[in-house]
Amino acid sequence: GAGVSQSPSNKVTEKGKDVELRCDPISGHTALYWYRQSLGQGLEFLIYFQGNSAPDKSGLPSDRFSAERTGGSVSTLTIQRTQQEDSAVYLCASSLAARHGYTFGSGTRLTVV
């Protein structure tokens, strides 16, 4: 596609429920990144996929968070047993290589009530 697409754009869930956030990157971009942004603050790195290499999961805040990237394209970020502190905007980005810059999606705003 022309840009990075994220769905849903907004998600309200009850505490304790699981959620799945989807990211459809730019076709041909081998790198895909997930970030979390709280209250318009800076970006907190979550996870990074590069081609067929093992993902860099060093930013995942707990084992309730996981992500996969199927077929080197679409990625899903899953949060299990959501907590109120998980409320944030989750941003996905893709790139050919980090030195070329990232293209971000518009994000998914997650609210845990």
């Binding site: 970030y35 990074y48 860099d56 941003l91 293209t103 971000f104």
Partner: protein, 112 residues
Amino acid sequence: TQLLEQSPQFLSIQEGENLTVYCNSSSVFSSLQWYRQEPGEGPVLLVTVVTGGEVKKLKRLTFQFGDARKDSSLHITAAQPGDTGLYLCAGLRIQGAQKLVFGQGTRLTINP
């Protein structure tokens, strides 16, 4: 500890004024990027600087990479309300994982 420190974190000025945002680190980066984010959108890449001392201009925005490639600045001349947004610097480390390290951002408000 933030690897890239941006200052100021918040800045509110009147239309027509000049301003400078700073991005500092004790680490050396192979390149540094600046992004602008508007409400409800993801950050958008403005510029990439690669060479120490490099200066790039984008209309009224001037970006500079420090000689030692540890810091950068963004200067806006005659700020306009359309410049309002969150400005993020991001560095690419020379070694290690090829992913950007982001500063915490500078929230800029230009008042008409």
